[in-house]
């Protein structure tokens, strides 16, 4: 009789085999390092420089902006803010989404009401609402985090609920119930681990969407004026009229956004494929 490998091991192997998986993880880790080590890589962009709107060169790898500040430093420090906002918003969304999703999957009565709420939230155009709220609450990092989180949790809840609905009817769950386990215990011991893979994927996907949302809101001027984020760099370029002329002020922050979001999504997709025995 052959010894079958554990599902975890199989997933890991499948993940590794697809070249896109490890590469994306590497890119994400690199960006994480850049975010954490920002002070070591570049000076905080402040004040002004003499070389205004200079194209990329040896001294300024990404060129300078309309106040002569180094764009490379802006992108590096922007990594911090964009990732932090994205991650914080997504974690908040995850917490709420998991709560709602698990509750809907586990408690049949709650499902009807919660399901409706989730569905309704999903069918609304979210960006205009985010804009309304951000404009009202005033621009700051905490506001952005909360606003993005509030409009991202329904997607998480939908996915968690779907997975939860697959887990809850499983025999070991009803067995635990018969053995006298409390709801909370069952949820913690069986349901949560069951939805964990989906949640993991959700964290990554929601973060990438949150980064895009933050960029959008900052671009519109609803971001925090005191902090550098990729969206703020673009907002600055738009306001000073350099968006279409000084291509480096537009290209590099856009590439940074693209890189982060693509890597995060690839990790999620490859992981999903690796996890599913049919697509391994």
């Amino acid at each position: 009789m052959t010894v079958t490998e554990s599902p975890g091991r199989l997933t890991f192997e499948a993940f590794r085999r697809n070249p896109l998986g490890p590469i994306s993880v590497a890119v994400l880790l690199l960006m994480g390092v850049v975010a954490v080590a920002a002070p070591l890589i570049a000076d905080y962009p402040r004040g002004y420089g003499e070389d205004v709107l200079a194209p990329p060169s040896g001294t300024h790898w990404f060129g300078t902006d309309d106040l002569g500040r180094d764009v490379f430093a802006q992108v590096v420090w922007g990594t911090r803010v964009s990732i932090v906002v994205g991650l914080a918003a997504s974690l908040l969304a995850i917490v709420v989404g998991v709560l709602v999703g698990v509750a809907a999957a586990y408690f049949k009565h709650a499902d009807a009401a919660l399901g409706v709420v989730v569905d309704l939230s999903l069918s609304l155009p979210v960006l205009p609402l985010m804009i309304l709220v951000a404009a009202l609450a005033g621009p700051s990092v905490p506001t952005l985090v909360v606003v993005i989180a509030v409009f991202s949790w329904p997607e998480v809840a939908r996915v968690v609920r779907a997975q939860g609905l697959a887990v809850v009817p499983l025999p070991y769950v009803s067995a635990s119930h018969a053995l006298g386990g409390s709801h909370l215990w069952i949820i913690r011991k069986h349901v949560l681990p069951g939805v964990a893979p989906v949640v993991a994927v959700s964290v990554v996907l929601t973060t990438s969407r949150a980064v895009l949302a933050e960029a959008g809101l900052s671009f519109l001027g609803l971001g925090d004026p005191d902090s550098w984020s990729w969206g703020a760099i673009l907002h600055n370029a738009q306001r000073s009229g350099s968006l279409a002329t000084a291509w480096w002020t537009t290209l590099f922050p856009s590439l940074a956004i693209l890189l982060l979001v693509v890597s995060a999504t690839l990790v999620a997709v490859v992981y999903n494929d690796a996890r599913d025995p049919r697509t391994r």
Partner: protein
Amino acid sequence: MRRILVGIASIALVAAGCSPSNPDGESSGGGASRLTIGTTADVVNYNPLLGNSRTDTWVTNLMYPRLMSMDMEGKRTPYLATKWEYADGGKTAKVTLRDDFTWSDGTKVTADDVIYTIDAVAKEKIGIVAGLIPSYTNATAVSPTEIDFHLSQPDGTFLDNVGFWMPVVPKHVFEKAPSVQKFANDSNWVSAGPYKLETVERGQRYVLKRVDNYPLVDGGKPAAQEVVFRVFPDVNTEALALRNGEIDLIANAVPPALAKTLDGNDKIKTVKVPSLGWAHMQYNVQRKPLDRLEVRQALAAAVDYEAIRRVALQGSAVSSNSSVLTPTLKQWQDTSAKEYTYDTTKAKQLLTGAGYKDGNGDGLLDGLSFRMIYDQADPNIAKWAQLVRDSAKEAGIDIKLEGLERNTYVAKYQERDYDIYAGSWAIMDNPPANLALAFKCKGFINYANACDPALDKLIDEARGKLEQADQKPIIQQAAKMITDQVYDNVLYVEEFTIAHSAQWSGFLTQPSELLSIVNPQSIAQAKKG
């Protein structure tokens, strides 16, 4: 497959059913010349007496005449009025009008229209104009082209104010509305400018067609048959449209960085237009320790004026030598004025001399922490505010920046809730009138909260004089006092860059972004080729 198609079809039907209707097209005919002007905001309000956005002013200026215009030095020049003077020791102002202006419905523009307008403004207290004519009581039409304005006291600012700031509206149209202030005037326009407004497609364009009898252009007929204002919310797209030839002129001042790239393009010409106002910081003297002169002087010495003009404004600004009489107003300027010197060591000396110390060794003098408010939507100020904060730090002064969104900003400065106010004036063209509002005790725009009896006396004296030559020395004295007492730290006078296609010429440049090359006379005489 069918089902997919039905699904798609239903969506398409919805979209098509609601598709926008055709415009009424009247082709302008072959050889038509059209001047397309780009702007970043829609017209919000068609009533010229209610001040609003720049686009409002550009469009309504092309429709409603004013008594006077302005030359490049800020001096009033004839427009609807041909001559004006004071009489009765200054208690009467006499104005003579041209007789060849006609409203677009055929009625002549007469003294009745002017008197109707000023009476409405005074009675309903409309806008800034009402604030500029406090001494007005009533007026009589001596003839269809002569008016006597009666004033409650000699006021040497009255004529310049009412002449330039008050557009004249048609009495027979506006009097039909219950209140001039509430009259929207958003259709069936009756105007007396070089062009009349024909079509409005909100969010897209405003089409004006020329009239045949505009007195202020040779031959009575403006060169361009049509003027179209096209709305671009994004200045980057607007610039691309200019480069592509889709628009011929950008009415809003081009940001300095963008201006530099357009300079090198030989299909585009740029015109430098000086501002009639200035950008400044004012220190709230009613708050300690800003009531102490040494503190204000130290703050003034801690600003790198050259760097602000060179970097934040990209050289599109000139120094006013720290005087409220700017170089744009040549007839008022005091050439002996000198700018505050940027010297952080001197600043520190002034402060330590006044008794301030750095107790905790953090590089900042204790008790010197100031809140500075500014409109964060203003890109220029947002930039130099940071420079100001950084250089103040070197002098041991802590400035906390508060970039506010517009409503909060307005609310705070109206309540004088700040230590330092950073902002800019668009037009301060008449010092005797402006200084009164800006520096007299409890003046409406007195953001320094200055209350200096000696200063008030000088300003009142100047206002009582009827000739500019008599007002000038007194005003210069007042301006010097303002500089010495640091009631206003004038940082720079902006130089706007207005860009237009090289194919068009003949523009007449006037100061300020509100006039620049889009003033009515300029547009009337502009031609292609």
